[in-house]
Amino acid sequence: MRRIKKEAIEKKLKELAKDYRIFAPMNGDVKETGGEFEECFPRLSGKCAFLPPEEEILRYKDGKVEETPEDKPIILFGIRPCDARAISLIELAMRDEKFPDVYFLRKKEKGIIISIACKEPGDTCFCTSFGHGPFSTQGSDALLVEKDDYYLVLGNEKFFKLFGEGEEAREEDKEYFEEAKKRAEEKIEKIPVDNLGEKLLSRIEDPVWEKISRKCLNCGACTFLCPTCYCFDIQDLERSWGVSRRRYWDSCMFSIYTKEASGHNPRPTHRERVRNRIMHKFSYYPYLYGEFGCTGCGRCVVYCPVNFDIREVLKILGGSG
């Protein structure tokens, strides 16, 4: 563990804005900044940096296809550890053997992710349920813990090369780290998730889905704000100079998401759509990649207009609620 002056990191971040695109929480959401950031739990998550709501992937111009050139590398700074984890979870899907997602991966490979530990987790956080927590380092090139005018840093070479090494952490820093970690973790509700994937699969036709899903409006709020939801749609748009092929966030909660050209919709109602959202995160994801597709950030709980609470749903389906 190292300790680096906050000032030094803040200054460095502004300098790096020349050669990097900096994304950080600002006015409540993660957005591109000139190196400024704000200490908060952002509403729009860290995924905005690597999978923006809208991006061009290629152009068709003068009879030729042009791939969209690579932009400057990304530094994602000041997000919570759960958002850093989320990006590593998205990466599992994007690294598909047959169809790797080059647009995401090229950004991810050159990018740097720096998170700040949550000393004060929120009431809707349940990240510890998945074996990680408010001080988790998974997916981060560095985890910073605020202490007075210093950051205590658990980082890798990539981070120290850019931001400097500061000094060796003291004994009391390490104690502070452990204590703050313990205190934060104790505040978080743990939802039992043992064998959840199999349990869900065995209940796929259970009438309980109708009950659970009834109040869902099938809007896109939960999935757009979810840091691990990565579904997108691709559309070709006419421009005066040719065609721009772009991708946009999409959501399995929308009825048109699965609507086929024939008009048939294999997920016709809220029941099938909600089931898909839950099954994808808690059954298909562990089956395919060995990890749950949820970090327990609680955004879908907070921002759902009808208070659909995924924690309650997991308790019911996992047999503990």
């Binding site: 809208e54 809007c219 772009r246 966030w249 709980v301 208070n307 659909f308 609470d309 309650e312």
Partner: protein, 275 residues
Amino acid sequence: MIERIREEARKAFEEGKIEILIGFGRGTLRATPIFIEKKEDVDKLIWDDTCWINLATYLRRFRGKKTGIVAKGCDARSVVALIAEKQLKREDVYIIGVPCQGMKNEKGEEFLSCRYCEYPTPPVYDVLVGEKREGKKENYPDVSEFESMPPEKRWEFFSEEAKKCIRCYACREACPMCYCEECFVDSLDPRWLEPGLSLSSLQFWHLVRAYHQAGRCSDCGACERACPMDVKILYLTRKLNKEVRELFGFVTGLDPEALPPLGTYSTEDKEEFIL
């Protein structure tokens, strides 16, 4: 109040008036919609100032079933508007009307829609629980304020609000009147507007959504409360509601027989806005 609602709900089940009841139950953060199918469960019903949702939005899912709904003034007006548009049959809906005390946000502030609410008491109901409440007669002071801004300022305000939108359509889904089989934003052929978050697309989406509500919106405010991005959208529908009132003398959701002005015509219609 809660006891009266439960009592009327129980009675409605016992007398065979309803097969299912849409009401509010205790959620984890605030009141949450619940769907009750047997009278033993009516004790799950609650009533407080976090009953933000307009429950009328769920009614179409239960068409053909005798459906009860616990409705505040604006919710009941949406039910009436849905009946007027032939989306529901009056005899299929059993309205347990609740004179509304006004809804509040997490900070305890009353919502705009409630601050100026003219019809806290449902104008149409099957049974009313509690004393009637008087509405306010202020005729959209918030809209007048917006109207008094110079055009550039209004454009700027509109653009700044539209920019915050991520097109999650929570506002659309929360609205009982947004029931089109295919929303204009989802149509690919013709493609009325582009996907994505360009300013012009967002402006287009916000304007057309509001236009489609003219004379149909009950000012419930459920759309704005549903928005995760805190986008102000009510001022647009409220402006149109004010216009519809001034031009056609029409108020949404008071009479199940009255067609909304844009769904009908009369030789008396004012024409001053037509070129």
